[in-house]
Amino acid sequence: MSGYIASDKAHMLLRRHALLLAASALPLGRPARAQGAGKDAPALVAAASDLQFALEDVAARFRADTGLDARLVFGSSGNLTRQAEQGAPFQLLLSADEGFIFRLAESGAARDRGALYAEGRIVLFAPPGSPLRVDGGLDGLRAALDAGQVTRFAIANPEHAPYGRAAEEALRSAGLWERVQPHLVLGENISQAMQFATAAGAQGGIVALSLVRAPQAQGRGTWALLPDTLHKPLLQRMALLRPAGATAERFYAYMQTPAGREVMRRYGFVLPGEAQ
């Protein structure tokens, strides 16, 4: 008898949580969509996470030069592309590779196939105190693997993050992929891979040059640029999406001006039409 009472109570608890869940799903007033219409309305810009620091810098310069605001959303290129396809109100998307932009152009979510804005580079990175010696030939990594000193090595998830794909290609080119694989930790995007490589006990990782060049990353470890012959080029492309307004168009153009390019160059990006 009292067994029933107890069970009823427990179920009430369950039901209360279920109700809470259901209530939270109710549309309590629509959030304001980013307006593409207003001429000076801020632009909502989605960007691959290798741009985490560089694009903040570009947006600050853009604001200073034009008085216009670009609001930035960072994530993995795959995730942002998917969100854009599902109707996220992004006005401009800067992907870390071309494929996602072509995909958006085909589905009609992007206005066109957009423009290349940078070529990305990857580095071998080791946090302070790591036994891993960093060099462009990955000899230090090979030696550390031989010595059994690598237990955790961070890269972005190659399945959907372009920088993760490049890291895999580089490790394969060096003949180290099979040996590193058991030790891999996969970041959801390249920022998280960087965070894994710096803070959480990994001996190192392969991350974006644009992240280690950022002032925020100074003193967090040592790094060495990997030759671009080790992986397919990271051709980073951007395109205006359907909801784009005047500010987004200005920002898209600004990325291609000398001022915008100068900032990107500082973070180690190779710019279209320029050699190393």
């Binding site: 029933y4 107890a6 069970s7 961070a154 998830n157 930790v185 996969l186 959801e188 803070a199 959480a200």
Partner: protein, 225 residues
């Protein structure tokens, strides 16, 4: 394709969480139900905290705790030979902590619902406290324990934010079914994502259904007795 490794890992994580969490949760639930002591209110609030605390707060806290900068993280490296972050053990610790309210609250309610006169009758008729616990209290509180087990198990399968922050998506170690589903979605593998989602849905439903059945059957038996 269904990521069976990930699904298997989630089931193992759920079972291990149950094994570790349920005994202390049963003890704590009973203490909270019967004892009056200073700090009891605080204990109840702490138990309920993971219900409202964002998983990212948990994830961040665990990153700091597991990191090489913390004494705990250092000790774990000495004991395990590897850091707790990115490891199954780390996920297990996270899972146990996050599930405390789901395990303790139903059990506490169940013990609280055992009528005082029944417990007094047990003691008056000469039952030792241990005997009374085994033969009177536990059979009566059993449905609450079954619900606690089902909620804990189902919630472990669904845990996402914490795992995303401290896991590192390692196949067979930290890539749980919920993370694998997320990876499938990002990789534009809609079929894989749908299959993973369906598998998780079925397992969660089965866990809840099983606990309902168990608690009802035991309820019936204790009533007939």
């Amino acid at each position: 394709m269904v990521d069976w490794t990930a699904l298997h890992l989630s089931l193992v994580l759920g079972a291990a969480t149950l094994l570790l969490l349920l005994p202390p949760a049963a003890w704590l639930g009973r203490v909270l139900a019967y004892r009056r002591f200073p700090g009891r209110e605080l204990a109840e609030v702490l138990v309920a905290l993971p219900l409202v605390l964002p998983p990212t707060v948990f994830g961040y806290g665990l990153l700091l705790l597991f990191g090489t900068g913390s004494p705990f993280g250092q000790a774990a490296i000495v004991v395990l030979g590897h850091p707790l972050a990115f490891s199954f053990e780390g996920l297990l610790i996270a899972s146990v902590l996050v599930n405390v309210p789901f395990a303790v609250q139903p059990i506490q309610n169940a013990f609280a619902a055992v009528p005082r006169n029944v417990r007094e009758a047990a003691s008056v008729s000469g039952m030792a406290p241990g005997q009374a616990l085994l033969r009177v209290e536990l059979p009566l509180a059993w449905p609450g324990i079954a619900v606690a087990a089902a909620l804990t198990f189902a919630h472990t399968l669904g845990e996402f934010g914490v795992v995303l922050m401290v896991g590192g998506s390692i196949p067979g170690q930290t890539r749980t079914a919920a993370i694998a589903l997320y990876d499938r979605v990002q990789a534009f593998d809609d079929r894989g994502a749908a299959l993973m989602a369906a598998a998780l849905l079925v397992v969660s439903l089965a866990a809840l259904l099983l606990s309902n059945l168990l608690s009802r059957q035991v309820g019936r038996r204790t009533r007939d007795a």
